[in-house]
């Protein structure tokens, strides 16, 4: 009998976000079901609800007709539901066998752990998987791919394993390692396990998944048989509309002026010898893989991280930017990537969040703040950026992600900057709000601001930027003009580092 996993009306709300909304569908044993969706579509959240990491706000799920409710991932594992994450959840200092049987090592009748027996049992599993590793090897001595295998074996070693989920498992694997993983998945499939596979990579999904469940903005859209639906249509279902149109309809009429910002040879603990220029009215894209150092360059420029070498010139004048405050006073503001931890002040209102950067203007010589000026500033911000909030005194965390982000941009713009740095400004924001941001960015450039746009979404960087700088391994690896920018070329520069264009 093959297992069935059924989701019945699962919803999960977070402050400001409906991460999952009434999810209903079934997954069957002996099939690989891929979850497909954009960042923030709810795929990972659903996995976390499934394995007890999150409690659903509403709804339930049934495994083989029995309703399950777990309070922790540990409980879920004991009931045969395992999730393998991108980040390894294993103990590097322990051996392969010790990791597989962690917390349930076989012991003799005196309660002393029987390592020999554990090694023997682990060896059998390793043979099943056909891997060239020893049970006694310390996990830290294995490659990333084999470390991941240990995790899978750990799940597999439970006799009652029914559901195994992979959350972006191939993010840090080489092609050969991916093949190895797929072989194991194939084996698990033959044994009738329910396999859920979350990935962004269309090629892999085509290769391994029997069916694809599509998610969009917290909604479940549909499940389709992989072979029956062409890739283009899958993407359309997942994005919901053709993003190309949005970019084509942007008003990009403007003049690019003189050099505004000149960054020379900047290094910090996190980036190496970065130099670039930004012109008035220009949108300068920063592309590259996550961890390539894009955010860190900006942090070094505004003085959030200490600069070790390098000089910065703004309109030809040398500036120091020893702190974000000094950068702000000089006319450079950053809208950070991590909105929740670095962008919003979660305990303050919309007004408090916008006015926090304007205290110097709002206060008199004694430091006493004029509530009238604050009111004016926040109302202007709400009006200019079309922030949807019932009142300026609403706590910012009560707003949706997109509106929170608008407040942070409004805060930056209110300081009258010359350079605006946006770090992944549309991350976790729904498509509607995204296009608002795109128009906003074009408008800023038109007004003569220099805009730096860091984004991992290639269509976004290509669609908005006049020029794109690509980073790899903490350095700039190339620069591409808008006319020559293609996704392939940016990926090439970001992953391999050399430009094979010419």
């Amino acid at each position: 009998m093959s297992s069935v996993l059924e989701f019945k009306g699962i919803s999960k709300y977070f402050p400001g976000v409906k991460a999952l909304d009434n999810i209903c569908f079934k997954a069957y044993g002996g099939e690989v079901l891929a979850f497909l969706g954009e960042n923030g579509a709810g795929k990972s959240t659903l996995l976390k609800v499934l394995n007890g990491d999150y409690q659903p706000t509403k709804g339930e799920y049934l495994l083989d007709g029995v309703q399950k409710h777990f309070h922790s991932p540990h409980e879920a594992i004991q009931e045969g539901i395992s999730v393998i994450y991108q980040e390894r959840q294993i103990l590097l200092e322990l051996s392969v066998a010790e990791n597989i049987y962690l917390g349930r090592m076989p012991s003799n009748r005196f309660g002393v752990i029987d390592t020999g027996k554990a090694n023997k049992m682990a060896a059998e599993i390793i043979r099943d998987f056909g891997l060239p590793i020893q049970p006694t090897t310390k996990v830290k001595d294995l490659s990333i791919a084999y470390q991941q295998m240990v995790e899978i074996m750990k799940a597999y070693s439970r006799e009652n394993l029914k559901v195994i989920c992979f959350d972006e498992p191939t993010a840090s694997l080489s092609d050969a390692e991916i093949d190895c993983l797929f072989e194991v998945i194939q084996k698990l499939k033959e044994q009738g396990k329910i396999i859920i596979y979350v990935s962004h990579r269309m090629k892999e999904i085509q290769q391994i998944a029997d069916k694809v469940a599509i998610f969009k903005d917290g909604h479940y859209i549909d499940t389709v048989v992989t072979k029956e639906v062409p890739e283009q249509q899958l993407i359309k279902m997942m994005v919901g509309r053709d993003l190309g149109d949005i970019f084509n309809n942007l008003d990009r009429e403007k003049e690019i002026g003189d050099v505004l910002l000149d960054v020379r040879n900047v290094s910090s603990d996190y980036v190496k010898e970065v130099s670039f220029t930004l012109h008035k009215g220009e949108v300068l894209g920063f592309s590259g893989l996550v961890g390539a150092g894009r955010t860190e360059v900006m942090r070094a420029i505004i003085g959030a991280d200490k600069r070790k070498t390098g000089e910065i010139f703004l309109e030809g004048k040398k500036i120091e930017n020893r702190s974000p405050k000094e950068a702000m006073d000089n006319g450079i503001v950053l809208v950070p990537e991590d909105r929740k931890m670095q962008g919003i002040l979660s305990n303050l209102s919309v007004s408090g969040n916008i006015n926090i950067a304007l205290m110097d203007q709002n206060a008199n010589r004694l430091g006493i703040i004029d509530p009238e000026k604050e009111k004016e500033a926040v109302e202007k911000g709400i009006r200019d950026f079309k922030v949807k909030t019932p009142s300026p005194d609403k706590k910012i965390v009560e707003l949706s992600g997109g509106n929170q982000q608008k407040c942070i941009v409004a805060r930056g713009i209110a300081t009258n900057p010359k350079v605006l740095i946006l770090d992944e400004p549309t991350k976790g924001i729904d498509v509607g709000a995204k296009s608002e941001f795109y128009n906003m960015i074009c408008e800023f450039a038109k007004q003569g601001l220099g805009v730096i746009l860091i984004s991992s979404e290639l269509p976004e960087v290509i669609g908005l930027s006049d020029r794109i700088i690509v980073m790899k391994s903490l350095r700039i690896s190339g620069e591409v003009m808008r006319e020559e920018a293609t996704e392939d070329r940016l990926l090439q520069l970001g992953m391999i580092g050399e430009d094979t264009h010419e």
Binding site: A304, N347, K395
Partner: protein, 334 residues
């Protein structure tokens, strides 16, 4: 229909602050209870005594309000108050004028604040642990400078400070009231106050928004240092002596009062008005226990219970805030 009614009630609650209403209720209950148990509780004289007893805790609690909202804490005020009283007495015994002694002692308070801030900002210690260090060191210094014996004060000006009254209330009470009013205003209406809330909510976000969290933390530690020293000086003036063993558990009462008043241990939330109510509640409680002859040892247990109550209500408030947020966002995201 009922929804509308709910909204109206909500407005009323918001006017005084929903939490404050519960706190006011608790104060009424405590006052009523002790008045029933001892007729002398609710008399003018006893109320003045209560305010005098509350004054030192109140002055220190002003500092704790800032610190805890900024996401920090301080366990050293008990030691610092005793040290300050002893130091002032020592300086007076050398024949120094009252004014000079007071200024030097206040500077000692600033120094202790700077030291605490240095440990937190530069060595990156948790404030709780860092100020535990200071607590022990300063208490030790208090004993060392006087050879372990209280120092009697004979300076007339200084003693007059302890006896001074205005409109029937002693100077120490006025100092507390002044501290509440001035620093309440600064917290609510100035750049500095706003910055304290901002860094307490999220230090890194505040820094990127142009604030200097380390400087603000330093100012908060200096503030509590100076206030504590001032409180210790007045205490010594009232006692006519500097006592190195005095004021043990002062920070305990002050922190309990601040948390009772609605400041969150997590930082970023609270108000000075809440602290005022918290100070009144804790002092009524402490005074009441003495007046109804609860044995001393049991008073400790009772104070512990009150702190537990404060912490529990802090926890419940936090839960409720999160629940409200969740509900609000469910309404928001359609």
């Amino acid at each position: 229909m009922s929804n509308q009614k709910n909204k109206k009630e909500h407005k009323l609650l918001n006017l005084i602050g929903g939490d404050k209403l519960i706190l006011l209720g608790a104060i009424v209950v405590v006052f009523a209870l002790f008045t029933c148990l001892n007729r002398n509780f609710l008399t003018w004289q006893n109320m003045v005594n209560l305010l005098v007893a509350a004054s030192l805790v109140g002055i220190v609690a002003v500092g704790h309000t800032y610190l805890i909202i900024a996401g920090q804490n301080d366990l050293s005020p008990g030691s610092l108050a005793a040290f300050s009283g002893t130091l002032a007495a020592l300086l007076l015994s050398f024949g120094m004028p009252a004014g000079v002694s007071i200024v030097i002692t206040l500077l000692a308070g600033v120094t202790v604040g700077l030291f605490n801030a240095w440990m937190v900002n530069k060595i990156k210690l948790e404030a709780f642990i860092a100020t535990l260090v200071t607590q022990s060191v300063i208490r030790g210094l208090a004993y060392i400078i006087c050879d372990g014996k209280p120092i009697a004060i004979s300076n007339k000006t200084f003693i007059a400070l302890g006896k001074a009254r205005f409109l029937g209330l002693p100077l120490t009470v006025w100092l507390m009231i002044l501290a509440f009013v001035i620093f309440g205003f600064i917290l609510a209406r100035t750049k500095f106050g706003r910055s304290v809330y901002a860094i307490g909510g999220s230090s890194e976000a505040a820094r990127l928004a142009g604030l200097n969290p380390q400087r603000i933390i330093t100012l908060c530690f200096i503030l509590i240092g100076v206030l504590t020293s001032l409180g210790g000086i007045i205490f010594a003036a009232r006692m006519n002596s500097g006592q190195p063993a005095a004021n043990i558990n002062l920070e305990f009462d002050a922190i309990t009062a601040v948390i009772l008043g609605g400041v969150s241990f997590a930082g970023g939330v609270g108000s000075m008005f809440g602290t005022v109510l918290g100070v009144i509640l804790i002092q009524a409680f402490n005074t009441g226990l003495i007046m109804v002859n609860v044995p001393t040892f049991w008073q400790y247990v009772a104070r512990g219970a009150l702190l537990l109550f404060a912490l529990t209500s802090d926890y419940i408030r936090k839960q409720r805030r999160e629940k409200e947020l969740l509900e609000a966002s469910m309404r928001n995201v359609k």
